[in-house]
Subunit: 648 residues, 2 copies
């Protein structure tokens, strides 16, 4: 008999060689139908693997990330079989599950495969799946494994096996297909009900451009046809909302080869949007007692030696800037904190004057390899909505909570309703990764967890995810398409105050060390705007839209009335413009729809006579013909739904 | 007989050997009394030098810079004589006139000289001056000159003479004193009526720290006692208004050794001031049709090769930033124009869409040697209130005039009433100093002069002062102390549009090259704030003051009433704060005066009873006890005196 502990802590006794699936059936038939994978004592295995020792069992369904991984990994076996059957002589290499789906890198040899063949591959995969073939893992000797692939002339698998230890090698069989595999499969192919080959791309064997070029076939699969359909719709929608595409369409930002990759140029409309976001945060920060500062974009190397950034990141960063004379060395600033520490240090402080909260929209530069760059989400230069709070130990809890309030205010005003948080603490097994004293780390980690508790946040604790200088609280928002993005961050830091020898005079007249909080609700303006674009598809909250209203004249005769309406709107702080072009109303409306201006007002003979406007919402809904005063109320009501005052 | 041409073009004939003073007397006795120096055929000489050939004569009085130079140069001879008489054995080296006064570098040997001795030196100088000794220049052979100084054991003068050509050496005698000298003196010592020894400092012989250390004695002199008095008052006032001192006192900015020299850190109050200035200009720019953009602080080296900046400044600039991989090279941006050109180039333009006016508060970095750095006026990183206008040739004149309007609006709103302008054109004798086609230069220079004419500006044309890429119009303001500062600049550029291949489609459907205007009314935020500080002594125009009003409570009992007053003021957009400390009214008023807050309101029993406030202006004037409404009007009237709306 062995003792099996389940995630809820309950312990069950079974005969040795019981399988996870047996345990699932013992719990309920319903559960058993959904179980597709399992882990035992932390190791992923098949639901059919016999368990021989006492241990902790977790059963996975499609709804667990681990379940999806087993599902997609198994699907890549099915795709491999389909490819072998359709393209005789194809050489398989590796085929892992990825975040969304799976791929297989193959050498098609003489065959030419293109997207025209995707349907054929999908049909063959579904045919195999419908056979409900069990996935069966078996041990194989190194000699037998090598001989199997040598017979197939597959030098790639042979190379893989040559690097494995005899005794550690397993094959997985299903149907007539066998693959070198470490395991982690679903019970049988029948669970896979829907498949899609997504794309093909070139890939080098082992990622080395000096090695043979292979073809990477990307696919995805689901247990229900409906889920595939939804996924493809999501993919289509995501493509439409791609911030790079919308940024171009709405003329928000651009890149220049000559200026350099990953260095965004903000166009006038994007700059107006960004300034509006910055003003919004500035206003809230002012109420929350922050003071703004401005610091340079470079600092002497010595500054970053003091801060520890140079030792940690120096080699992987933009390299030092030398001067033509005097032999000085400067670095592009990767963070604003060292500069803010020097501002704090520019005069002595009393405990009565703390906390000091220095805020700056500080542009920082960090080297990323060009292959890693992506639109505004992964750049080489970005502006943090940064602030550093210098406070006493007694003030830390309250300050941390105040920052959480500010972050929640920002998310609420921008329509991110759906978010979770992560408390990132250090990995106690790798203390060398962090700078600073363990007892300070303990205190800081405790302060964050207590603030998260107190504010009722939905949080998880992630060990080993802390910054090298301190633990942090990160906010992950879910966008309209259900994708997760890391946004704001709040970090406690006991280390920089030590390194910069920051002090204040306490009520005991002695010198003390302040605590520092780093925080950025948006994270970076670039990344935030990108996520906001993808979240809203460019239909920003009304208060944020650069242009809220466009007035279309039915003919040029009504320009004067349009101007009158415009003035009335501007008096009510509604941002509007007039389209008085000599074009058809249909064209004017279509053009207005592309710019995503939320309200389209039409003015012609009737409107002028009745002193009214015909109101149409972006997307088509007609609000009828109303007075400007009524319309102003509509706008104000709409704005007040998202934009509240901070700490009224 | 020789022919002498005077500056007004008139030609007079005189016997050869006539002196400039003779000519002056011939013109008028009054002029002759004031003439202290002259130049003949471009060479400075004594008023007593006989003229032997035909030539152009200019007579200098104290009111000419050349006259002042002769006056101060001669005064340094007088000081040298005084030092020789007071400190026997003192060794003289060199003693030139400088911008304000003169100095003499001397080796005092065994003597200890300090500021306690200044009065003695001054008295001795005045005693010599009163002797009305003529300055007489005479030629001397190299052998005699060397022997003269060898007898005095003056190795410094010996070294100077050894480097001179025999036949080129002159001595100047006055009273009992003789000095090696190239000439350029006033007629006699009696013209010097007032002297002041200002300071002493260490200086190395020939500026070389491996050579002997000398003592530099600074002095200044005037033809009237009253002028000295005024100068010393100005000096005292300038010291009080030194922006580095005020910047510290008002907590506007600081520097950090670790961040680096010449890299200002803006403290909260300075940042608020700067943001207010920026908002002011942003509002005016918006009305003038500018659009804001944001660009990164670095650019690929290629960008600056294209722009021509790299060829021109590369070696003397901050050196390129390398990447750890991919071997890219970036430069800190020294100017914003290349980035704005790339924004213009991000899409095609039609003539109907021009002009495009891109504005950015763009921070740029330029290397200066540490010895050249000075507070905020000479820094290594500064923020330009930059904009670039891309327009057609036909639009250039009007655009240039519009920019002049904007600059005049800025100066008017900030209390710079007194300014001149300079049109800087190229030096036609050194065409290799400039990039671009001569015919484009001609056109641009003409456009600037015509705009300056049209706007009725007080302008001078300076040949050879143009930027390397184009001619410009610079604005020089006179501050409250009469000192001149270069502020705003407007530059026409036909070169960058060529280099960046900028185009627009004309009404003829052909591709054309736009013209570019660079402009910055403030110049740089750092320099402008420095000059504004020195101009106003920190008493900024009311609209700009970070805090306009401070409310002092007579006792803590009146805090509630003070708060009511504060709310009323804030409703009228007046920035106020309360000092409710438990301190004497005298101390509160003194503290308020230091911060230069323009209005001090006192509230106590009487004020609360009558619902009024007692108003006191910064500097002491009492405005009596009035209602908040009346006070609001006072503030609004005061603001409207300087801050007008742009293009109302």
């Amino acid at each position: 008999m062995i003792r099996i502990t389940l995630p809820d802590g309950s312990v069950k006794q079974y005969e040795s060689s019981v399988t996870p699936m047996d345990v699932a059936k013992d719990i309920s038939e319903g559960l058993a139908r959904n179980v597709i994978s399992a882990s035992y004592n932390g190791e992923t295995l098949e639901a059919s693997t016999p368990l021989e020792v006492d241990g902790d069992l977790v059963l996975y369904t499609w709804n667990n990330p681990e379940g999806k991984k087993a599902f997609w990994h198994s699907s890549s076996h099915i795709m491999a079989q389909a490819l072998e059957e359709l393209y005789p002589g194809v050489k398989l290499t590796i085929g892992p599950a990825i975040e969304n789906g799976f791929y297989y890198d193959v050498d098609f040899g003489e065959h030419n495969v293109s997207d025209k063949d995707f349907a054929t591959i999908e049909n063959k995969m579904l045919e195999i799946a419908r056979g409900k073939h069990d996935f069966k893992l078996r041990e194989v000797s190194k000699a037998d494994a090598l001989s199997f692939y040598r017979d197939q002339n597959n030098e790639f698998k042979v190379e893989l096996i040559e690097n494995l230890q005899d005794g550690d090698i397993t094959f997985c069989d299903h149907s007539t297909f066998t693959d070198l595999c470490r395991g982690g499969h679903i019970p049988n192919t029948g669970i896979v009900k829907a498949v899609k080959v997504l794309s093909i791309a070139g890939a080098y064997w082992r990622g080395d451009e000096n090695k043979p070029q292979l073809t990477r076939v990307y696919g995805i699969s689901f247990p229900k046809q409906k889920e595939l359909k939804e996924y493809l719709e999501l993919l289509e929608e995501a493509k439409k909302r791609d911030h790079r595409r919308l940024g171009k369409q709405l003329e928000l930002f651009t890149f220049s080869r000559k200026v350099g990759q990953g260095l965004p140029l903000w166009l006038p409309k994007g700059t107006a949007l960004r300034h509006r976001l910055e003003s919004f945060l500035k206003n809230a920060q002012q109420k929350a007692g922050y003071e703004m500062v401005i610091t340079p974009h470079i600092g002497q190397k010595e500054l970053y030696i003091t801060s520890g950034h140079y030792a940690k990141y120096g080699e992987d960063s933009f390299q030092p800037i030398h001067t033509p004379k005097e032999d000085e060395e400067f670095l592009l600033k990767p963070m604003n904190c060292p500069h803010h520490c020097e501002i704090y240090n520019s005069r002595p402080w009393s405990y009565k004057e703390l906390p000091k909260r220095y805020a700056e929209f500080g542009t920082v530069y960090r080297y990323e390899q060009s292959g890693e760059l992506h639109g505004l989400t992964r750049v080489r230069g970005f502006t943090q909505d940064d602030a550093h709070i210098f406070c006493t130990h007694d003030q830390l809890d309250e300050e941390f909570k105040n920052v959480i309030d500010l972050v929640l205010y920002v998310f609420g005003s921008l329509g991110f309703e759906n978010f979770t948080t992560q408390v990132s603490i250090r990995d106690p097994e790798n203390p060398e990764k962090y700078i600073g004293e363990p007892e300070n780390w303990d205190k800081a980690e405790q302060a964050i967890i207590s603030a998260a508790e107190d504010k009722g946040l939905d949080y998880v604790i992630e060990t080993g995810e802390a910054a090298f200088y301190g633990p942090k609280l990160d906010f992950m928002v879910k966008d309209a398409l259900g994708r997760e993005w890391q946004l704001g961050t709040i970090q406690v830091d006991y280390t920089l105050p030590e390194r910069f020898d920051l002090t204040y005079k306490g009520s005991d007249n002695e010198s003390h060390r302040p605590v520092m909080i780093h925080r950025a609700p948006f994270g970076s303006m670039e990344r935030f705007v990108a996520i906001l674009l993808e979240h809203t598809g460019g239909n920003f909250p009304l208060w944020l839209m650069p242009e809220q209203v466009i007035i279309l004249t039915i003919s040029e005769k009504y320009e004067k009335y349009a101007q009158k309406v415009l003035n009335l709107l501007e008096n009510n702080e509604i941002r509007a413009l007039i389209d008085n072009r000599n074009e058809t109303m249909g064209k004017k409306i279509r053009d207005a729809e592309v710019t995503k201006i939320p309200y389209i007002l039409v003015v012609g003979e009737n409107e002028e006579r009745d002193n009214k406007i015909s109101v149409r919402q972006h997307g088509g809904e007609n609000l009828g013909t109303i007075s400007v005063e009524q319309f102003t109320e509509v706008v104000e009501t709409e704005i007040s739904k998202t934009l509240k005052k901070f700490k009224e």
